[in-house]
Symmetry: C2
């Protein structure tokens, strides 16, 4: 079956998105065609609006960045620089406590707890094998530059996943950031709330014993 | 966390697509922001190109419809009418053998076999409970109108899923279309190629006995 080229192109483009396969992409495209022109146009317009999004120059979270950059000359990095997100520009948050996370969605989950009042640095997904990417090293470098200007941070919290890969990179980061903060910590480990002891794995149960409180 | 409104809007719009939940939608949007402006714009443009897609007036499959409508006055139905897809306008295909399918993707799967040389009618997804929707009845009506003009079809094949819902609607359709075709058939049932007898369910194994060849 010769699909029209615009249909094939969009299926191809959607297939390249993370966790969408060719089959789901095909179904999505037929669904959209079924929804009609107005709906398609609206979605395309919503998508195009993303181009106004900038990246916060301190934490690298996407932001509209209506705040003007307060001081020039931090360090470098994004080609879309010069803006601060509303966490990094919030005087009520402790800018001297910095949580390193891998993903934007990790930040959202932590914000949803309402229990962290510091700021973040989004490091990007940690490679399953090997070292950090160059752009990730630049992000670390920018954090160190800010700290060098503003004085040693109170605390850096490594909000990496509690996996062997996360543990490995955490140990590297602790060395790398040793001079930048008075304290470097990781998120607590133990039994997840609502979990059952009977079904907890050895590592989790062991951690809950060691870190009992 | 106050996400920029364009980000929230797009997450919302993507969450409404079939089989995409809010969590996946959020990840997709951050992924797109990470890919940068050019990529976002390209995807929006690809999406917007769908608006040129029309629906074949005979089988209701999406098409570019470069073919002009050969004769006026078939019957009715789509607001985007007046075009034929390349199956319905192909003189080498037997226009008198018609396969009813639920979904566009079913048509694609059948075409991939390369073993069907008739044409199709896309009926739309059959409701899990209750009768066909009004627009589905209109599609059936349009098929009957075409057949009334062109003469009784050789065969109508009901390409519905071999489920109890599919079976139920097939029995209704057989009555409904009785006068329109010399023969009404369903897709064969039995053991799937590559399957194992040991693991086949009773219904499948029973069908394979009854329809042995």
């Amino acid at each position: 079956m010769n699909l029209p080229s615009s249909v094939r192109k969009l299926i191809q483009a959607l297939s390249e998105l993370p966790s969408i396969g060719p089959r789901q992409a095909t179904r999505l495209v037929f669904y959209l065609i079924g929804r009609g022109e107005a709906h398609i146009h609206e979605l395309a317009r919503n998508l195009d609006q993303l181009k106004n999004i900038k990246i916060c120059e301190r934490c690298f979270f996407p932001t509209l960045g209506s705040e003007p950059r307060p001081q020039a000359g931090v360090g470098v990095i994004s080609e879309r620089q010069g803006v601060l997100c509303n966490i990094c520009s919030d005087p009520h948050r402790n800018q001297s406590v910095i949580m390193l996370v891998e993903k934007e969605t990790d930040l959202l989950s932590l914000e949803n707890t309402g229990r962290f009042k510091g700021r973040y640095l989004i490091l990007g997904p940690i490679p399953k094998t090997g070292a950090l990417e160059d752009w990730q090293k630049l992000r670390l470098q920018s954090l160190k530059s800010v700290i060098a200007k503003e004085g040693r941070a109170e605390e850096i919290i490594l909000g990496l996943n509690p996996t062997s890969v996360g543990d490995f990179h955490a140990s590297l980061l602790i060395k790398e950031l040793a001079g930048s903060a008075k304290k470097i910590s990781r998120l607590g480990r133990g039994l997840p709330t609502g979990g059952e002891i009977e079904f907890a794995d050895d590592e989790t149960l062991g951690a809950s014993l060691e870190r009992r409180s």
